[in-house]
Symmetry: C2
Subunit: 407 residues, 2 copies
Amino acid sequence: MKAVGVVVEYNPFHNGHLHHLRAAKTDTGAHICIAVMSGSFLQRGEPAIVCKWTRTKMALACGVDVVVELPYAYSVQSAARFAEGATNILATLGCTHLHFGSEAGDITLFHQLVQFMNENKEAYDFAIKEHMQKGVSYPNASAAAFRTLANGNETLLRLDQPNNILGYHYVSSITQQHLPLIPATTVRKQAGFHEKNIHDEHTIASATSIRHALSSGQELSNLSRVMPKTTISALEKYMLQVGHLHTWERYFPYLQHRLLTTPLSHIRTIAECEEGIEFRLNEAVYEATSFADWLQHVKTKRYTQTRIQRLATHLLTGTTKEMLSYIHEQPVPYIRLLGMSTIGQTYLNKKKKQLSCPIVTRAAELKHASTLGALDLQVDQAYALAHPPAITQRILKQTYKQAPIRI
Amino acid sequence: MKAVGVVVEYNPFHNGHLHHLRAAKTDTGAHICIAVMSGSFLQRGEPAIVCKWTRTKMALACGVDVVVELPYAYSVQSAARFAEGATNILATLGCTHLHFGSEAGDITLFHQLVQFMNENKEAYDFAIKEHMQKGVSYPNASAAAFRTLANGNETLLRLDQPNNILGYHYVSSITQQHLPLIPATTVRKQAGFHEKNIHDEHTIASATSIRHALSSGQELSNLSRVMPKTTISALEKYMLQVGHLHTWERYFPYLQHRLLTTPLSHIRTIAECEEGIEFRLNEAVYEATSFADWLQHVKTKRYTQTRIQRLATHLLTGTTKEMLSYIHEQPVPYIRLLGMSTIGQTYLNKKKKQLSCPIVTRAAELKHASTLGALDLQVDQAYALAHPPAITQRILKQTYKQAPIRI
């Protein structure tokens, strides 16, 4: 049985994801599709709008056969680290291909760029350092370094589009680690990655625009053009159960509390807290009336919004530099199974014995799986705090007992 | 100018306090009255229902001439430590007397008991240890030890009543430290310290019963029989400004968050966290739907509710054992002035130059005053978190700029 892997956040699952899933199977001739999905918090340092179990149901309902979790230590990270975790997990699970959507849509371009970057690594790193010394952020410095390097070379893949960047890191990670995965890509349909508004005539909209529509009070039923029915009903059920979608604003009081009652020496041990930014974090609490406002007060030319959001997520979840250091010891210490279809289960049963790491099916096992597993549990506990105490308590208990979803 | 000192929480200021104030001046012939008052959190490990500035206004409106703050390091502590901080501050400010209300009402009994306890210290300590080894709480063990010791001696002060206990510790602290303070006491009028209900015909009710009435939704106007008008209007103004009184329930989410996202090794550094109680604290979060519920889950024969509440307060405020250890280095490193009348100001101006420590009038100075001062600021920041973020931010700014109240 041939399996294709995809790397997803499904926040929430929409028609663009459905289109990509179909292409992944068609393009690679795979029998089943395995998704490695971020858990409670996402790459840009934001809480997922609904819990990972609801997003797993959305995925299974639309043709994914196995959903496993990308550990927090990889999911709230730079593109390179994120890709490293995702590709390792898909390779461990025996996928033959990794399939991703991109703006470019031509896998040759990705291979060429990886080769080009390997050949020019030193010049590239040097140029980045030079730009950063002028005080610009890492993403801007690397973009500028790339422009200098690629000067005049029109055939090179453009690295200024978010899905091209992720795709580049997948291919680069596979190449550098010699993983037995064949990368493949397809052009992303219609909507831009971070496009804010939903076009009237389109059936595909970006997840960003869908979240934007939801947070500005649009009825779910109005979004049925751009999401599968199963997503709509899963979102409805979630809102009925807990009353709201998760946004950073709901967690802001905890960030205020942590920053106001933790000595700076301890704040400095938090992951991504570097170069004296702790002073800014703290001062901004005295100025900010909301999370969005706090971000504006902390942001500088050097620290992008995404970087601050990731740092805020680490503060919220209590993630220290020391905890994240374990990803270098062992890239995949365990695989957390979130859900599977019948055929997905058959696949896993066959592969189980050859796996180089345990498959974890309960939170209780996570605690003992490794430092990264214990961190995943801690992160889910923090995620549960978006509700009044009595609902939080109910969710904590559920989180602890939850078995993988089966359909 | 002769000054009498009183030790207070004023949570809130009521007719019983007014009665005591008058007795304090009459009994001692003092010209002015100085109150050393707990700040944001109180001796039993609870948030004050309104901020210390509002409580200062209540006190000044009813005849207190100077209000200074009992630092957090003393205010959320056992009776002995609480008394040590309070008596030291009053002595530093040049009070000639310390006046307190008690169930006994006869100062000779307190002096006798202090002498008796000094003579029997070893036997008493030994008996406490014996009782505690059977797993009972410290308060129960010391009560039992006292019963054994006092066996048959009917003339001794009874130490099973809360104001007698506090009074005993005031007199004991004055005696042991040879402080130039003359202790004096009067009988508490009518209401029992922790009495829960307000009697219809009484004009004096306990603060506990008043808080109970307020939290069960009684109109403030219904309580005008038992509190001065100035207290009623101060409470009204506070509720108008921030929307509610402070209760532990409003802070419970922060406690959940801290316990769910902080490694046990760090929880162990928190003040009063001893003997493996950290495991219970954590497990109880999984069971509790409210703070009251959480307390029930943590409480044991050994750990009284008050002790758990104090520990919870230290968790909320981020107070470590190490921070509290500074109280042994220097009992009164600074005196925080909260408010004064005109005559109070005259008194302070005269005394200022002879004081052995600085008088702090702004939060900004606290930061640099000492570790205990920085802790007081941190504690006030935690106290401000009972509100939605935008109100919290406004209060944080106010807290930082607030000058002493003058009337």
